[in-house]
Amino acid sequence: MLKDITLGQYFPGNTVIHRLDPRTKLILVIVYIVALFSAKSPLSYGLVALFLIVTVGISKIQPKVILKGMKPLVIIIALTGILNLFYTDGRVLVQVWIFRITVEGIISALFMVSRIILLIAGTFMLTYTTSPIALTDGLENLLGPLKKVKVPVHELAMMMCIALRFIPTLIEETDKIMSAQKARGADFESGNLMARAKALVPILVPLFISAFRRADELAIAMECRCYQGGKGRTRMRQLRYASRDIWAFGIGLAMLVMVFVLRGIQIV
C-alpha cells in the first residue's frame, strides 16, 4: 500500500538523536556523506556503517522502518549494482555471450550498492528524527549568510517546510481516493499500460483538485496570521547548541578523520 512509503516522514521520539539541534544533524549528515564518498576500503565503509548503526540504535527507530522506506528505491539500487557488475573491466571471471563478470566488477558493485544504501539510510535518519519545522529552522539558520547576497533563504525554507509537511497528507489523501474509486469497481492492477494510465485519471483529478484547495486554504490561513515572509520575524523557539551537540560533532568529525586516515594509508 501507499501507506508504506515513509519518505520524508517524521517519527516522534525523545532520544538524544531526536533532541540534537537540527543544525547539528544537518551538518552531521553532510559530514557523513563526505565520509561515505571518501571511503575506499571495506574498513572505512565499516566505520561509516557503524556510525549509522549506532545512530539508529540510539534513536530507537526500527530497522524494519528504514528497510520499508527503501522499497521504492530498490530498482535504482539493483540497477546500479547490475551496471557496475557488467561494465567494469578487469580480470574476467565468467563470460556468457556478451556479458562478462569481472572480479573488479563484483567488488565495485558491492561498494556502489552499499554506498547507496548507506546514503539513503543516513538521510532517512535525518527526516525520521527531525520534525519538518525543526529541519527548516535549522536549514534557514545555516543558510542565513546567503541572505546577504539576496538569496531568498526564508522563502525557500518555508517552501521546503510546507512540501515536507504535505507529503504524508497527500499520500493519505491518495489512499482515500483510491479506496473510494475501488469501491466503485475501479481496477488499478490489471490491463495493459494504456489501460493502467487511464485508470489513474479517477485518482489524479480529485487529488489535484484537493491539492489546489489545500494550497488555497493554507495561503488564506497564513495571510490571516499576517504572514509576510521572513522580514522582521522573530522566533518562539530559538535554536541553541547544547553539550550533546558538541559530543555529536566530536564523534562525527572523529569518524571523518578516521576515514581520511584510512584512505591515506591505502594510497601509500
Partner: protein, 293 residues
Amino acid sequence: MEETTLTPILQTKNLTHTYGEGTPFQRDAIHNLDFSVERGAFIGIIGHTGSGKSTLIQHLNGLLKPTSGQVLFNGEDIWQNKEFTRQIRFKVGLVFQYPEYQLFEETVYKDISFGPKNMGLSPEEIDRRVRQAAGFVGLDASVLEVSPFDLSGGQKRRVAIAGVIAMEPDVLILDEPTAGLDPVGRESVLENIRNYQKAQNATIIMVSHSMEEIASNVDKLAVLNHGKVAMYATPKEVFTHAEELIAMGLAVPQVTNVLLRLKQLGVTIDTSAFTVEQAKEVLLRKKEELRHA
C-alpha cells in the same frame, strides 16, 4: 433458499485490523470484532472518534483485508478469491465520508456511470441505472449534463451517493452521509437512502454522529467502543443505557436527555422515548395523569 434468509447477509468473525504493522505507529483499530447484519435491515453504527467505525465498514466490502478473522457475505468468505472480492465491491456499495471529493468526470452523468461501467454492463443498462440513481437522490435530469464541479456541496454529495447507488448494491453502507449538510439537506439525503432501501429491498448500514438521526431511522444500532461492539440492539434498548453511552463519550438524543433530567428532578416518567413524537406522547400522558391525580 430458506437458508439464505436465515444466514446474515454480512457477518464478521473475530475481525482484527492492525494499522502500521511494524512501525512505531502500530495499533489495533478493531480487535476480535463480531458483528452481523440481517438482510433488509437498516443498521446504525455509532461510536466516538477513532473507535474503528470507518475501519470496520471498509472491511465489509473488501477494501481492507483483515489482519486476522473473517468477513462473510451470505456465509461465504469474501476473500476466498480475487474475482469474488471484486464482485463484493459491487454487491456491497460503500459511500465514503465526504464522498464529493472523489468526483472526477466532466459531467454528472459520466461520473455516476463510472461504477456501472466498471461492472461491464450494456450501455442501455448503464443509462437506465444512471437515470434511476439520479432519481433516487433527487437530481434533476437537467443536472446530468453539468460538470459536477459547478454544483453546490449538497448536490455534489448527492451525485457521489448516486454513483454508488447506480451499482444497485444489495447492501449500501454510508459513512456519515449527512456530515456538513444543513438540516433540510440532511433530512432529504436520509429520505433518499430510505427510498433506495424500499425500492431495492436493500440492506443499509449507516455510520452517524447524530443520535437524533440514528434514533429516527435505524432498526438496530451497533455501538462501537475501542474497536469492539459494546452494544448491539434496537435504539430504544440502547438509549436506556444512557450512563454507559455517556461514559463512552457518546450522548443520548436530546429529548431522552430532557426526560432523564425530569426523572432526576423527581418526576416518575418513562424515559425510553427517543424521538420528539414519542416524547410528546409520554409527556401528554403524564399531563393527563397529573390532572386526574
